[in-house]
Symmetry: C2
Subunit: 661 residues, 2 copies
């Protein structure tokens, strides 16, 4: 009995709450945090509850009233406006005055006498007046008097139950026995780009304007306008550091290496430097800084690859042998996952006794590049370094630079991928590349957007990467590339392509594998992005549609709708206010024309079933008049495998379609 | 970096865990606690994990190895053997030796050289030897030497991967960087009766052997053999205390009261005493103690009603006016839920400033009756007293008397009912009385037995109570009573009936309500339980089946099976080892014969599809030979509305059915 036993409120099942509140949820600026909780007490008393939140720099808690929904579930919401860490919790209390009002009404309705009850109410009001401002105090005392006097029944009742007194009493509730939820939950608020971004991946060394030359940052600078023109806002480079020579891999990842072989950019470090240096053939640090600056001027961010591993030639090996694992024969333990061996890469040993120094060094690398203008990091294989390290690193960095975005490149088991998101990665690669059928896509996207996962895991959909050339792109031809582009760009508000290879529909794979033949990871390419059949214009159109339609700038507003064909996928996205409604139909079959009847959720969208509405395919610019739920679609993949319909509801009853907005 | 950053294990999603571990799960002696958790680390290392638990009196943690199931989920279990509070948690660590064995096997399979790797393994073994007993130390060092010597490849490998070394190394794992789950969870272990009990409710004052007399504890004593003979083990009495006179209710709950009216037993307290006294017409405290003792000798427990409320005449009103709510006109606030009024009952004010004294007094009442031999309390309307009070009270009582069982009589909103269970009530009344159709029953029972609810909420199914005469019993005739009895007694291992009224199929209700006409709550009854049509024999049969079949002594082993008729319900219960398999078919239609084809889950039950098996209806004693999945059933409610089949699988291949067990 050492606590206050008269606190009668229970607050349970508060959502969102990740890992029992130990880890934060995620939002971007302008997004809502909707909080629900089961709040109840013993007995029949009325309750009141408030959602409390604190901004990153705020000292005071702000309060929003919560509303009872059903089954003792209450709901409140607030919008986040600043980057950083918000806090929230919930408070509830027995509201004796509200109970009194409810009971008084019932007494009156059933014809019971309530003279004494008016005095009970007057006492509540008098108590409230002691908590009130001088001015309100007088007003409240006046109410109290009126109830005690109780002239006419109806009149007294209208005072007692009236809006005015209710509002006054809501201002001065008796919270002596209020209960605050036992935890403070946190929200990490990122910049908007964390939720809406279009990535283009490029190997700088393949950007030379003429054949046979190693590309430079200067060459990249010349491409910036083109990339921005295609509608991308994030340009991601594989590692730009010096590449090791020991055990360098040759073309197609073979161990035999020729004198011209350039090696994998992920084999970081040579006598020319490590993670703080740039590959001399790409240019200087100053060239890189200039490139970052020029890109920023065009609205483009350069995303940096963060691959915390070393080539055998990395300066760390000599300077910090204690950061590596040495074998009994005195050799360095290279990376392997038996029977696979990565002889050109040495992992850092995070179980080293000098782990603190290692962590600090890696943090200093991130800070180094932040100071060069980088604010987006694509983290290579984060799942092979301890979670505790990432949690610490990201917290440290974002405490100082809340705008920084870390993308997790983990293709591994679901628990591991989700954990990385929970401990701080703002975006994550996904299984999208291997989700092809209607059932697979619906199942996976439902998990990502309709379950608790949406609170912490922001997907970034990539149809291909330098590591992944999925089977359907190998065999589906150009239509398959278009299908996967539309899916990535409309299902997820974050998406990216491994650029030139995607634009040019490169589909030759290593036999029996989902890997590129003659992979750019091991050789310099000379891409001619203008050859016939390239997807440039199509990508421009898709990106423009994304930019012009706010509904596509979110992921968690996705809804799947019915269509009576197993190879057609039909889904929609809308803004909260329904001012922007998009329907997407995708033919998942890259070979044959498919048709079917879609079922439009007209009721949810506020579409009058008796009136036609216009659907405007933003891909083809075709327009169709639809009416009611069931409408016909037909998609020939050789022409266009998808529709992205903007729905234009009629505002007025006139029949002229000019009146559609 | 103030924590050990090298702990690489994550333990998430541990189940069972109620309210983030703040509240306990429940078990009875002999039950299993199955614990699952997602356990994983970065990288590709192998892990080991152990479930740790501590018995109520144990000082040391015991350990059980956990097994990886799939998707990083691990599982372990232990059996509880003592009443009281068990604790459990989970520990996991990177098992470098296990990783080494796994990798060594892969290296060998792919033909890689592993000479140096044998030295790596030898080092792990040497380190382990330093943690080992003298004897094991030598053995381990011998292993280490053998690996270093590495005579023949195959031979060395068979040592390195052999069972012997694996077991030794499992004995001395390196747990320096082990991670223990951050919480210790608790299990409240109750006596077996908390999960398996058969209740009979009786008004002692109606037990007189001759008409017109007020029944006594002595009369009750005469009934004990009969009640035990019917198969009940818990005899529950409504309150046995003095009944107030002020505002006493007359027959059928009217305010006008005659001189002979006996009042409601729940209007507790008069000048003759309060919660520590017995109603003088029932006998003395000594009579009651004797009754409790006599009952216990027959294996019957007397369950006491705990109704923490007062009549206006209760001694507390004068002795502790501060425990009640007084109105501005100086009158006592009686119980009400406007417009309903309970003028004969005064609630205790749990918001009183003297709440500590009130709590202590109520606790002393419970202790008073425990000392008189009572160990089961049916708590009246617990949802009108604070949760914090019950949590404290039950913890206090069970700390001293872990065998005590509290049954929660709350018929209210789901969250409230579940909360009461979570904070300590061992059993709970349910919505069973209002779940009648197949869909309703399946939905409700699935919630109770297949979700997290099963960890803390033990249902007690009552087809009727003195407060509830459900509609289907009003109209369904004798078959409806049989249907509801079988459902209650086989769906839930705890069940009870409001005795004589049920046995005699009393079905006259207050017009338009689900309440008894001439309710025993307000008058003395003279029941003749032997009149034709009484259900006595049927109840005896059902209770005997429950006693003889351990599968019916659990609730959470319930499985619904398919049957192609919407008025037939088909379900099964089995023991873990399948030594006791029961199928129940109930015709939910009390008026018509219904038939259908059931689908027996023969695969799950290990029944050979090519062989016949015998199903023995324990209700009718009829036997049927079934084969395969689909079998025919037909139930005429006028004869028997249900089958309770004991399944007898054939042990030997002989065709003679003597070989069925």
């Amino acid at each position: 009995m050492d606590v206050e036993g008269r606190r009668r409120i229970v607050i349970e099942n508060l959502k969102p709450e990740v890992e029992g509140g130990r880890l934060p949820i995620k939002r971007t600026i302008g997004e809502k945090v909707v909080v629900t909780a089961d709040i109840f007490s013993d007995g029949h008393d009325s309750l009141s509850a408030r959602l409390q939140y604190r901004t990153p720099k705020g000292k005071e808690w702000k309060e929003v009233p919560m509303k009872m929904m059903e089954n003792d579930q209450w709901r409140g919401e607030f919008v986040v406006q600043e980057m950083g860490i918000y806090r929230y919790t919930v408070e509830g209390w027995i509201d004796h005055f509200k109970t009194w009002q409810k009971d008084l009404k019932k007494r009156f309705d059933s014809g019971q006498d309530f003279k004494v009850d008016l005095w009970v109410g007057a006492e509540y009001i008098e108590k409230a007046s002691r908590r009130a401002s001088k001015e309100d105090q007088n007003k409240l005392l006046l109410f109290s008097k009126m109830l005690k006097r109780a002239k006419g029944v109806k009149e007294t009742l209208s005072i007692a139950l009236g809006e005015e007194i209710t509002e006054f009493m809501n201002h001065y509730p008796d919270r002596t026995l209020a209960v605050t939820y036992e935890k403070e939950l946190t929200v990490v608020v990122d910049q908007k780009r964390a939720l809406f971004s279009s990535w283009y991946e490029l190997f700088p060394r393949s950007c030379a304007s003429e054949p046979g030359r190693h590309g430079t940052f200067g060459d990249c600078e010349n491409l910036l306008s083109e990339i921005v023109g295609m509608g991308f806002d994030t340009l991601y480079f594989p590692p730009i550091h010096p590449i090791g020579k020991t055990n360098r891999k040759g073309k197609n990842n073979i161990l035999k290496v020729g004198p011209d072989d350039v090696g994998s950019p992920w084999a970081i470090g040579s006598e020319e430097g490590g993670h703080r240096s740039v590959h001399p053939q790409l240019g200087t640090l100053e060239d890189f800084e200039r490139l970052v600056r020029k890109a920023k001027e065009k609205g483009l961010e350069i995303a940096m690859d963060l691959a915390f591993q070393c080539s055998p030639d990395h300066p760390y090996v000599k300077e910090h042998p204690e950061w590596f694992r040495w074998r009994p024969d005195g050799t360095l333990q290279f990376a392997e996952n038996p029977p696979k061996r990565y002889e050109d890469i040495i992992p850092l040993n995070f179980e080293t006794e000098k782990w603190q120094e290692l962590w600090e060094e890696l943090k200093s690398i991130v800070l180094f590049w932040i100071k060069k203008g980088v604010c987006i990091f694509r983290v290579d294989n984060p799942h092979t370094k301890p979670f505790s390290f990432w949690e610490w690193l990201i917290k440290e960095i974002k405490g100082e630079y809340p705008e920084v975005i870390f993308l997790s490149e983990a293709f591994t088991r679901p628990r591991v991928m989700y954990r990385l998101a929970k401990i701080g990665f703002a975006q994550s690669y996904t299984y999208f590349a291997w989700r092809n059928t209607k059932r697979e896509l619906i199942e996976y996207l439902t998990e990502l957007t309709q379950t608790e996962v949406k609170e912490y895991f922001r997907p970034n959909f990539w149809p291909n990467t330098p590591d992944i050339l999925p089977e359907h792109l190998q065999y589906g031809g150009r239509p398959a590339f278009m299908i996967r582009l539309v899916l990535a760009a409309t299902l997820s508000s974050n998406y990216g392509i491994y650029g030139p290879a995607f634009e040019l529909c490169i589909h030759e794979a290593l036999s029996g594998k989902e890997e590129y033949l003659h992979s750019e990871k091991y050789e310099i390419k000379q891409w001619n992005r203008d050859i016939p059949g390239n997807l440039g214009d199509f990508i421009v159109r898709v990106n423009r549609i994304r930019q012009e339609n706010p509904a596509l700038q979110k992921t968690f507003n996705l809804q799947f709708y019915e269509v009576d064909n197993e190879t057609l996928l039909f889904y929609g996205k809308t803004t909260d206010d329904l001012s922007n409604i998009l329907f997407v139909v995708v033919n998942l079959d890259p070979f044959h024309t498919q048709s079917g009847w879609v079922k439009v959720p007209i009721k949810e969208l506020g579409i009058d079933p008796s009136q036609p509405y216009l659907v405007h395919d933003l891909l083809s610019d075709d327009k169709y008049i639809w009416q009611g739920e069931r409408n016909y679609v037909e998609l020939n993949p050789q022409v266009l495998p998808a529709n992205i319909f903007r729905v234009r509801k009629r505002l007025k009853k006139e029949t002229d379609f000019d009146y559609f907005v």
